[in-house]
């Protein structure tokens, strides 16, 4: 034996150890993957050996390899072997590997239950410590259920190190097994007053985590924490407590009032910045929760803001960041007090640190006024040009829109300026995801501010003309949707509608929904142009317009998008019909008069788009009450009988799709009910030829095409001669020329370099304000200076005394809402919670008030007793030592689950009349792993019994001591005998065929031995259950150690 050991050691010397592995990996940088796979092969060899030290070495190497991203879960069984070694060295390596690669869903974990239990109860505190550390990383619901009592026992260990770890561990247990919370809570609360500060801190930590998610259950603990806060000097713990109070105050305003004073004292006295910061945070939370009625209310908010200012002014970027973060919380409720520090916050916008700039951006929301909005936006636009990260640019873009649009454009005085800003944002930002947002803003402004529409249509025409749809995956093209709609809807504002119409009809590669809008707005523009022609009695103009639009719309007819196709076809039908009426009577054409039917059609078309659009509140539809007697599930028409179903339904579908254009026309036009359906989408040769020519013209006009010959222009001339008035549309204006802003202002812009179009509004504004003030010149200079030096004075230049600039434009804020409904109606607050959040299960009402004076009541009292009873249960079931039983016990426990569940049910029913033990009984029933015999015993304990407890206590303590020994002796036998059948099953179904047999053999040997003791054991069992009652009452858990 000794020889073998020496031999093993000798062999081991030549294995690679961890250092060799690391060195090897570093020496093989070029083919690291190959080297590691080679090492893994070696490790597999090593794992097959019997020597634990060799295995241990292999597992240590695996842990390192895991960090490099290799899956090592295949070695799970070996890791468990190493964990079960009796040597601390190996155990530690095993638990480390387990904590790195096991997780709550690992199936292998069920093998570990008894082994971990053994480690937890080990004499060596570091064995238990290592087990707790490892367990905290991979504990599963099953493990939590089975080990909860062992960990609770450790909570009252004599060693502070273990108490501390056990307390933290309980939190993990609660997360996986919420039923443990109620019975464990009294003990946890006891630990708040533990003599060891580490244990105290751990208990605070756990309760804080619990209370963070379900604060209302922990309100009764507030006095205990209050006491701790005023007496403790441990900053780490104080921070946790103060954070906890921050979560509690919203629920109980009275608590907040009490807190203000000690917190302000702490703020004044502490030198630790972390504590100071958390105090301020909680004071803010308190102030938010208290609506009114505080005498020194403003004093404390002032104190907070002052302290925060010190933080923000600090050179330490971390403090600056946190200061801004806390400021944003104050801003929500006390915007006035933050606004006095405007200068400071605006200065942070230019900070070199992105995190700080982002926080300052959050605050900007409350900083803007009518006076400084333009200035701030200008600065943000400047940032956007310089910023490199697209995420930050997006954030800036979002903020610009947010601050401008807040409370219905309260601070925007000039909407032409805002429109320009929006257009600039579009041009600045190539890869933004906020295209939809800008589009919404454009629509919103155009609809709500009637004055700006004229300006808007010009801007939008330009935008439609010049916007280049990039192939990049971004959403900026969405703005075309808004632009097209605006030019169409407000076409009456257009100076040159024909130009816009041509731009819209230019074939472009666009997403379907935007093309659809294009087509729709082409009709709007057409209707408007036709109406003007009508007014001028310009017959040829109308004809020409019809032909031109028809020709261009055919591009859309062949679109892949069904929506575009439908709209284009409807439009074509409509216009063709008009065209037919125009040419129907040749006589009238010669006289120049327009046929009456055509006039009617044009007027009807114009009517379609007449009428003002009013903004509708987003929730308006939902607020409309359902009319009485309306049943949406009822058939409007009875469905046809079943027998004709299949064929007729198919037919219906066909009809639906083919006739859609027809129906569309019907609905839209309302005039030509008898219009012929278009037979097909195929183009006639004549049309194809026309399209081809048009394409050539388009190419010749497009500066991006290389023109091979001047032929194309001659074709164009040919066409124009064919169609006498066509040149009206194919004129020079149509040729897309990339605009070069060389007008005078543009030149200025080039020279200055950074001035943008939107800046001119700012300049005019500044000019007017400076003129209006008395000492105009001086102020102007000041402004200039500050601009150059680029410091915060720029914002101060417009001092408070100056009058607010008058808004140039008015915003229409009326929203269309059903009667008797207000906008402020809140949304339903469902879907707020994550269904997978384990904390939902932990929302358990704890009867804390019962234990309000813990020190006196807890000793041997009714409320604590259930825990102590339960401490016994696992020792009876567990502490088996062999490896084999580990595997088996897990399986056994699964089987016994059902049984236990049944037990639980019955026990609960029985427990109901037990008035005194109401807290204890459910827990006792649920966590009792022991046999059903003692289960019954506990439940039988009744009121009378509890009165006898005190008398019995001294006696029973001795008895319990004895019985606990017996129980420990019993334990392995009970488990092994009851699971005889399962061993055989395990043999067949074992997942590790190589490793298992040896263990099972060993196990069987043991089993035989124990069979002989079967009778003895039965006797023991009865004896044990006799002792069970008194134990439950009073055994101090210390005696287990």
């Amino acid at each position: 034996m000794a020889l073998k050991k020496v031999k093993g050691n000798f062999e081991r010397m030549f294995d690679k150890n961890l250092t060799d592995l690391v060195r090897g990996i570093r020496n093989n940088k070029d083919n690291e993957a190959k080297y590691i796979s080679q090492c893994i092969e070696e490790i597999k060899q090593e794992l097959r050996q019997d020597n634990v030290s060799v295995k241990c070495n292999a597992v240590a190497k695996l842990t390192y390899i895991q960090m490099l991203g290799y899956d090592i879960s295949w070695a799970g069984f070996n890791i468990i072997e190493v964990m079960s070694s009796s040597r601390f060295t190996c155990k530690r390596i095993g638990y480390l590997a387990a904590s790195q690669c096991f997780h709550p869903d690992s199936e292998l974990l069920m093998l570990t239950t008894n082994m971990i239990r053994k480690d937890l109860n080990s004499q060596n505190q570091y064995d238990a410590g290592v087990a707790l550390s490892g367990l905290s990383c991979f504990i599963s619901p099953d493990l939590s259920r089975d080990l909860a009592n062992d960990i609770m026992t450790l909570m009252s260990s004599t060693k502070p190190y273990l108490r501390m770890k056990a307390v933290l561990m309980m939190y993990k247990v609660f997360l996986r097994y919420p039923e443990a919370l109620r019975p464990a809570f009294p003990k946890l609360k006891e630990k708040l007053e533990d003599p060891d500060p580490g244990v105290q801190s751990a208990a605070v930590n756990v309760i804080c985590e619990l209370a963070r998610k379900n604060p209302k259950n922990y309100l009764p603990l507030a006095p205990v924490f209050f006491k701790l806060m005023t007496t403790s000097t441990n900053n780490w713990m104080l921070i946790k407590i103060i954070k906890l109070f921050g979560a509690l105050t919203p629920l109980e305003p009275r608590l907040g009032k009490k807190l203000i004073e000690p917190l302000t004292n702490l703020i004044h006295s502490t030198s630790a910045m972390s504590l100071l910061y958390e105090c301020i945070n909680t004071v803010i939370a308190v102030l938010i929760s208290i609506s009114s009625g505080m005498p020194n209310h403003s004093a404390s908010i002032q104190l907070c803001v002052q302290k925060l200012r010190i933080l923000i002014e600090d050179s330490d970027q971390n403090l600056k960041y946190l200061g801004l973060l806390a400021m944003s919380k104050i801003l929500k409720t006390h915007p006035k007090s933050v606004q006095t520090h405007k200068d400071l916050i605006l200065a942070c916008l230019d900070d070199k640190d992105e995190s700080i700039r982002l926080r300052a951006l959050d605050l900007l929301y409350g900083m803007v006024s009518k006076k400084n909005l333009m200035e701030i936006v200008k600065r943000l636009l400047g940032h956007m040009e310089r910023a490199e990260g697209s995420a930050y640019r997006d954030e800036l873009l979002f903020k610009v829109i947010e601050i401008c649009a807040q409370s219905s454009y309260l601070y925007v005085t000039n909407f032409e300026w805002y429109m320009t800003v929006l257009v600039e944002l579009i041009q600045l930002e190539a890869g933004s995801k906020h295209g939809c947002l800008i589009a919404e803003q454009l629509l919103d402004v155009a609809i709500r501010v009637p004055v700006v529409r004229q300006f808007a249509v010009i801007e939008m025409t330009n935008l439609l003309d010049t916007f280049a749809v990039s192939t990049q995956s971004n959403s900026m093209y969405e703005v075309l949707y808004a632009a097209a709609w605006i030019v169409g809807e407000f076409s009456s504002e257009l100076a040159d509608a024909e130009k816009t119409l041509n731009i819209l009809m230019r074939p472009r590669q666009l997403p379907g929904h935007i093309q659809g809008v294009y087509v729709q707005n082409v009709i709007k523009l057409f209707a408007r142009l036709a109406t003007t022609c009508l007014e001028q009695q310009n017959m040829s103009g109308i004809v020409c317009l019809c032909d031109h639009v028809l020709e261009k719309l055919h591009h859309f007819n062949g679109s892949n998008d069904i929506e575009v196709q439908e709209r284009a076809n409807s439009a074509c039908m409509l216009i063709e019909m008009l065209r037919k009426q125009l040419t129907a009577s040749d006589e009238t054409a010669t006289t120049g008069a327009i046929p009456t039917l055509a006039i009617e059609i044009v007027q009807e078309m114009a009517l379609l788009f007449a009428g003002e659009l009013i903004p509708v509140a987003p929730k308006a539809q939902r607020k409309v009450p359902l009319p009485n007697g309306l049943d949406l599930d009822e058939w409007i028409n009875e469905p046809p009988p079943e027998d004709a179903s299949s064929s007729s339904s198919d037919h219906d579908k066909d009809e639906l799709f083919v006739s859609s254009t027809h129906d569309g026309n019907d609905a839209a036009g309302g005039v030509h009910a008898g219009a012929k359906r278009r037979k097909s989408l195929e183009l006639t040769p004549e049309q194809m030829e026309r399209q081809r020519v048009a394409r050539l013209i388009e190419q010749s006009n497009n500066p991006h095409y290389l023109k091979s010959t001047p032929i194309s222009s001659s074709i164009a001339i040919g066409i124009s001669s064919n169609n006498s008035n066509a040149d009206q549309y194919d004129n020079i204006d149509d040729i897309p020329i990339t605009e070069i802003p060389l007008d005078i202002e543009g030149v200025v812009a080039l020279r200055v370099g950074i001035t943008k179009r939107s800046d001119k509004y700012l300049q005019t504004l500044q000019a007017t304000t400076s003129l209006s003030s008395k000492d105009a010149k001086r102020k102007h200079k000041k402004g200039k200076k500050s601009k150059k030096s680029k410091n915060k004075v720029a914002y101060n230049s417009s001092s408070e005394s100056e009058a607010e600039p008058k808004p140039l434009h008015l915003v229409n804020t009326t929203l269309d809402m059903p009667e008797g409904v207000t906008l402020s109606d809140s949304e339903d607050k469902d879907g707020k919670y994550d269904p997978n959040d384990p904390h939902r299960a932990l929302d358990i009402e704890l009867d804390i008030s019962m234990f309000e004076t813990p020190a006196k009541v807890s000793k041997g009292s009714v409320s604590i007793s259930p825990n102590k009873e339960n401490l016994k249960a696992p020792t009876q079931a567990g502490t088996s030592s062999s490896k084999g039983t580990d595997a088996v016990a897990g399986k056994k426990e699964k089987k016994s689950k059902e049984k236990r569940r049944a037990d639980r049910k019955t026990s609960k029913e029985q427990a109901v009349p037990n008035l005194i033990d109401t807290e204890g009984s459910p827990y006792r029933a649920s966590t009792d792993n022991g046999g059903s015999s003692n289960n019954n015993n506990i439940i039988l304990s009744d009121t009378a019994h509890s009165q006898h407890k005190k008398k019995k206590r001294e006696k029973s303590e001795k008895a319990a001591h004895k019985s606990s020994k017996q129980l420990i002796d019993d334990a392995p036998k009970t488990t092994t005998t009851t699971c005889t059948n399962i061993i055989d099953v395990g043999d067949n179904a074992s997942a590790e065929p190589e490793a298992e047999p040896a263990i099972i053999k060993a196990h069987r040997k043991k089993h035989k031995k124990e069979k002989s003791q079967h009778k003895e054991k039965r006797m023991h069992k009865t004896a044990a259950s006799d002792y069970e009652q008194p134990q439950g009452v009073s055994t101090p858990s210390k005696e287990i150690f």
């Binding site: 050691n9 000798f10 081991r12 010397m13 150890n17 961890l18 250092t19 690391v22 060195r23 570093r26 842990t63 390192y64 895991q66 960090m67 991203g69 290799y70 899956d71 040597r87 601390f88 060295t89 530690r92 390596i93 480390l96 790195q100 997780h103 060596n124 570091y126 707790l132 550390s133 905290s136 990383c137 190190y161 933290l168 561990m169 939190y171 993990k172 580490g198 751990a202 930590n205 756990v206 985590e209 963070r212 780490w236 921070i239 954070k243 910045m273 972390s274 910061y277 958390e278 970027q317 971390n318 600056k320 946190l322 070199k352 640190d353 992105e354 995190s355 700080i356 982002l358 995420a391």
Partner: protein, 191 residues
């Protein structure tokens, strides 16, 4: 709660990774990569807090990091932790490492990744802060080291001898052997 603790060097090579929530190995590597990219592009004089990290975290989580010479120490924490407190904790962690390894450098972390894990487990347990007092932490570590030494005893002596021999690096030693400068010696010979 702390969700993860990562240590990597200036090139993003992981030196320690501890996740207190389960991610599979692939995702772990992606998280390390992403965190490195987020952290490494920041200057040294900016603040040590970072929002974001799409793979790990979400709205409630922050990355809190410190940069020492060649190493980044990154903690991913939720809002229940105090930001400045965690910064202090990182400092405690590094100072403890410094005490244990005597002037810690990246190589110590590379070759003793397991020891670093054991030290860390005395500071943080299952994502919760266990101990912040350095003296207590050191006492725990030393006691455990003593235990290991006891267990090793004589049986580990041969293994130790072999590892010393292995680390001798013979080729370098041969190179380092100083021979008298031969040409000079020949010149100095007097006939």
């Amino acid at each position: 709660m702390i969700k993860a603790i990562l240590v990597f060097n200036n090139h993003g090579k992981p030196r320690l990774s501890k996740f207190y929530q389960y991610f599979d190995e692939n995702l772990q590597q992606q998280i390390i990569k992403e965190t490195f990219q987020l952290v490494s592009k920041r200057d040294d004089n900016v603040c040590n807090f970072l929002e974001g990290g799409s793979l790990i975290g979400g709205a409630d989580y922050k990355l809190i990091y410190r940069h020492y010479a060649t190493l980044y120490f990154v903690f991913c924490v939720d809002s229940s932790e105090s930001e400045l407190g965690i910064l202090d904790l990182i400092q405690v962690f590094v100072e403890t490492l410094d005490k244990c390894f005597e002037n810690v450098c990246e190589l110590d972390l590379i070759f003793h990744a397991d020891a670093v894990h054991h030290i860390l487990s005395e500071l943080v347990m299952g994502g919760m802060v266990l101990q912040t007092n350095m003296n207590d932490i050191m006492a725990r570590i030393e006691e455990q080291n003593k235990l290991i030494k006891q267990e090793a005893g004589i049986s580990a002596a041969p293994a130790r001898a072999v590892s010393v021999v292995k680390s001798m690096n013979i080729p370098q030693q041969i190179k380092d052997i100083k021979l008298p400068d031969l040409p000079q010696a020949i010149k100095d010979l007097k006939f």
